[in-house]
Amino acid sequence: MAPGTLSGLLQKGAIWGFIVLELIFFSVAGEFLSLSDKAFMDLDNMLLLLKQSAPIGIIAMGMTIVMINGNIDLSVGATFALAAIVLLDSMTWPIFAGLGDGVIPVAMALALLTGIVLGAINGFIVWKTGVDAFIVTLGAMLGYRGLVFMYNGEQPTSHLNWTLVDLAEAQPLGLHVATWALLIVTVLAWLVMTRTVHGRNAYAIGDNREAAVNAGIRVGPHMMLNFMGIGFLAALSAVVFYSESGSVNPNDGELYELWVITAVVLGGTKLTGGAGSVISTLGGVIAIQLLRKGLGHIGADTETVNLVIGLILIAVLFLDRQLNIKGKEALKA
């Protein structure tokens, strides 16, 4: 066995091992502490878990790619809210009045387009100015949120379309629509990152941008494409979620960027770029939702949930450093 193989395996499997631990803990604790007669591992409850993971999970796939790239996107929560507003509001626009329920795909397309455009703006600025993505998207986070408030002031933007709600509540082949969206996005992101030139380039750029440039990779357009991707996914997440709720508060999606980044980091993606896996991110997303759900199941309050997730995040990063031999060498040097 080559040196580092074991630690590599441990690293990749850690998040799934953690999920199994959570499942066992909540199943046992639930027997004593929960008022519910149903087991925590009830099939319906696990299906709900996947469904409830979708809003954060879909965005997290885009964030994984952007972070492997060595960038970050803090504007996803604001993009999410703005896309949601476009989705719900466009259904009431007079120009689409003749379409009936045919307006639904049009509204969805407009919302997704909004996400792509916002992402493109981020990517273009990062590409052309060379300013760090953290700063650019921090500005975008504030700016896009400003747009959200300009759109409808302090009021929520609402449009309840029951056809759309029924569509979103459907369960083809037993899985919720939101779950399908999450799984399809995960598979596509995995294919892109492991089977395409674009994916390999993403790792190369994140690992060593200079070397990537010297190798002839067009770094700027590559990054812009990834930002458009995460913009699209933030909008897709909004489409999936708001189809089922029909009203968006102007402060919806606040802190989503932090939950998404937490999930991605829990899944083992490096903040410095160059390493990470889409599948492990899915694990990170599920682990967080499982904690929220499980702690609720045994009767802990929201503050406790946040505290526990924070502690676990720090513990994971510490473990990761211990397991990562390369990291240790870097520290000694």
Partner: protein, 319 residues
Amino acid sequence: MTLRKTFAATTAAAALVCAGAAGAETMRIGITQNNVGVDSYQTTYEKAFIAAAEANPDVEVVVLDAGGDVARQIAQMEDLIQQEVDAIIIWPTNGEAVIPAVRKASQADIPVIVTNSNIAEAGFDFVASFSGPDNITQGSRSAEIMCDRFKALGIENEARVVQISGQPGYTTAIERAKGFEDRLPEVCPNVTLVETQPGDWNREKSQQVMEAFLVKYDDIDGVYAGDDNMGVGALNAAKAAGRAGDITFVGATNFAVGYEAMAAGEYWGSIYQSPVDDAEAALQTAIDVLNDEDVPFLNYFDTPKITQDNMGEFTKPVF
């Protein structure tokens, strides 16, 4: 957690005792609250709710908090439906976004009781009852308090008012603002409402909003805040600018800080609303619904006016 177990055990014991006499069955009621940590009203509400449930041997409660996040609240609704509770009490984070989730509960034959701030009309078909304050009436009562004060001061024909509203998108905030904005021109047609800005139910935010108002306007005679927490924030800003004496402060949901400021003569009036009454009314409404009793659809509890003149009739709020 041990408390919960003991509580469950006592409940079980009590249920056994009752079983012979009345055949009482334990009701399992789930509640998903808006945002418990955000202010003392919601914190006191949760405490009062749990206390009321513990005092009733026929009731077991699952207490959840959405932390202000719509997505989390919808997930909690789904969880409660999945756990097959007997009734769900919801304090909506968004009066419209939760409607489909409420419909799901009603389709699963679980009665839903909305507490504190109502959901939008599109969802009324899926709700058993609303228990809470009448926020429109509260807003109009605040307008009346403000107008009466202006008349007493003799400035009802020239007064200029600013409004600091609650958290955007929140039904309580919208309804109180609407009640105030509709009633004020009726009782005091010559008073101008110059500007409205959100204070997010937050004292610091409200203080900043008021600081900006004070810079922008040289003449402010009245401030209406969506609750006392924000009202006191505005008062602090005015005191720092040395202009508090010229301004009539009226709030809603009388908080202890507001009550104290009224006692000190700095704050004029508010609406007396007890979170304990609110929580107990919600639980009682749920129990009545489960017992098939006749419950009005809009089950309001009274929230009277309180000003420096009549504050002696009220005890200081505990929150």
